[in-house]
């Protein structure tokens, strides 16, 4: 199959099955099981399609005549698409037990999930600001609704409200920025803008500078960096656990997919202007996130707050991207993967052991889980270690890359600062471990049901470990080196 066909087939399939499930859901023969498995199969198929194209470096414009060069399918987008789809698949797979426990996962929820993935797929392929905006909005709006899925819950509604309101507010900044860029560059195509920047002086780029900053603010809003990410704890808390996992793991990657593309194609020229802003953003994000994470009683909120800190690390890498050196961009992709799998696993475990509904999982709910369910406890521990950046987990390798690239770009102090917030993060991540292992048990052999969810949790844990130590010396399974190569190919395929 040609890459172009796959580029069309993946979003097409997603869209098709979304619409199919939407209609089929009205039929009397529809059951939750059927909808679930249809979605799962769709995701699996599309994932396999996408992943078949990541092994080599390629870049094509998808049907340039029809889409006017707005969509680009390259290794970069293929990588990200595979990530989203894998993430969506994993989220759903792990969430099975949660979905069984609750009543509000109707067929629309699967449809919305597919729609949002569709949006993200397009977003990662978008090479044009308006397309990106539309894709982003498709993804966002689906997620807004997913957040408010449990409409009988006041918390969920409130989270829905906040996310929607602030999301629209942020979107308007994006539009404003886009308008400013359009006003100056007369185009919204990223390549066109890059060309304009290349051929003009700074004084005739002022609107682009301002507009780019506004777009960046939207990105920062989506990845929840301080001060734009005040919503994150509320929304994560309000949303049901699989959705939170989805947002934290998958949606963030999608935003970064776009951010990286726009950064590497256009912003990189303004590196000197933006670096201090991003560094400042990274610092306040890391401080703010870790301050909030330290005080949480609920594991979910702690994870939410800590996801802010991880955004801070990503910003460190973003600030360290230089024209001459794209290690930082590789680092971002690697870190995204690392964070995605760990966070998905962590939220997945929470959703697996939660009783459904919007009951918070506090630290003391985890007490002594290890005695009762050693495998779950071990997996959660591995996820925590990975999030904390403990060696032998993929999270460590991710941090290692980010700090290395920061030092390479001369931001040694920033790296040190990152290390210090990582130190603080040890506290709240290990607190989970302490509760899991060292406290007296409160669990009386509860059966959490659905063993496949457990299997996927364990698989994720293995991926986390393998990504931390894996090497093809031992077994012929792709390890760190292969991931590295993938990130490199992705970045190089952007054609820079």
């Amino acid at each position: 199959m040609t890459n172009e066909l796959i580029a069309l087939l993946v979003p097409g399939l997603l869209l098709f099955s979304a619409i199919f499930i939407l209609l089929y859901g009205l039929s009397t023969s529809y059951t939750k099981e059927k909808g679930y498995y249809m979605t799962l199969v769709t995701l699996l198929v599309t994932f396999i399609l996408a992943v078949s194209t990541i092994s080599e470096k390629h870049s094509i414009e998808v049907l340039p005549d029809i889409f006017n060069s707005m969509l680009v399918y390259d290794t970069f987008s293929a990588t990200f698409i595979s990530l989203f789809l894998f993430g969506g698949f994993l989220t759903l797979a792990i969430a099975k037990s949660f979905i069984d426990k609750t009543s509000y996962f109707t067929h629309e929820s699967f449809v919305l999930l597919l729609f949002s993935l569709f949006g993200m797929v397009i977003l990662s392929m978008a090479n044009e600001l308006v397309t990106a905006f539309v894709a982003l909005e498709i993804a966002s709006m689906s997620v807004y609704v997913l957040v408010g899925l449990n409409r009988h819950s006041l918390k969920a509604s409130e989270a829905f409200f906040k996310y929607l309101l602030l999301g629209s507010f942020a979107a308007s900044f994006y539009l404003l920025g886009m308008m400013l860029i359009y006003a100056q560059a007369k185009t919204t195509n990223l390549d066109g803008i890059a060309e304009y920047i290349l051929h003009t002086e700074l004084h005739s780029q002022l609107l682009i500078v301002a507009g780019s900053m506004l777009i960046m603010i939207t990105i920062m809003f989506k990845i929840a960096s301080v001060p734009f990410g005040a919503w994150v704890i509320d929304v994560y808390e309000g949303a049901s656990l699989p959705i939170t996992a989805y947002m934290a793991g998958v949606f963030k990657i999608a935003v970064f997919a776009f951010a990286l593309r726009i950064f590497l194609s256009d912003y990189i020229s303004f590196e000197a202007i933006y670096d201090p802003l991003i560094i400042g953003g990274a610092v306040v994000t890391m401080i703010g996130g870790s301050l909030l994470a330290v005080i949480q009683n609920s594991v979910k909120k702690m994870l939410a707050a800590s996801s802010v800190v991880h955004s801070g690390y990503l910003l460190i890498a973003l600030a360290s991207i230089e024209v001459s050196n794209q290690n930082a961009a590789n680092a971002i992709i690697f870190y995204l993967f690392a964070y995605f799998i760990s966070a998905l696993g962590a939220f997945g475990v929470l959703s697996y052991i939660s009783k459904g509904g919007d009951v918070l999982i506090t630290f003391s709910d985890l007490d002594g889980l290890a005695k009762d369910k050693p495998l779950i406890a071990a997996s959660l521990t591995i996820f925590m270690l990975s999030l904390a950046g403990f060696p032998s987990t993929i999270g460590f390798i991710g941090k290692f890359y980010i700090f290395t690239s920061a030092i390479e770009a001369g931001n040694t102090l920033l790296a040190l600062f990152g290390a210090l917030t990582a130190f603080v993060s040890i506290y709240y991540y290990f607190k989970v471990v302490v509760h899991l292992y060292f406290k007296e048990s409160v669990h009386l052999s509860v059966d959490y049901g659905y063993k496949v969810s457990l299997a996927f949790i364990v698989i994720s844990a293995f991926i986390v470990l393998w990504g931390g130590v894996g090497t093809s010396l031992l077994f012929d399974i792709p390890g760190i080196n292969e991931l590295n190569k993938l990130t490199e190919h992705s970045i190089e395929s952007l054609g820079l």
């Binding site: 539309v134 909005e137 709006m141 807004y144 509604s157 409130e158 829905f160 308007s172 359009y182 909120k301």
Partner: protein, 100 residues
Amino acid sequence: MLQEYMILSIILFCIGVVGLISRRNIIVIYMSIELLLNAVNLSLVAISADLADTSGQVISLIIIAIAASEAALFMSLFVVLFRNKSSLDADLFDMLGSKK
């Protein structure tokens, strides 16, 4: 001529921002958001005319479409929120958050 449009657009945008932050009624807040979008639309159309480039107008059409879908979400939001609290005062919805 473009400059005046732009100034008007920016004034509108600022009104939108201030409205969003200062008003407590969710419907008014929603209206402020519409104002933000339309401020952008206005300037896009003006720029499009100024540059003699139609894509600006196309973009504004797309934005209107997105605004419409946003409106749909907001409508459902009003219903959900009103059902919960019998009020649409934004400040009433502060159950979440990590204040101690």
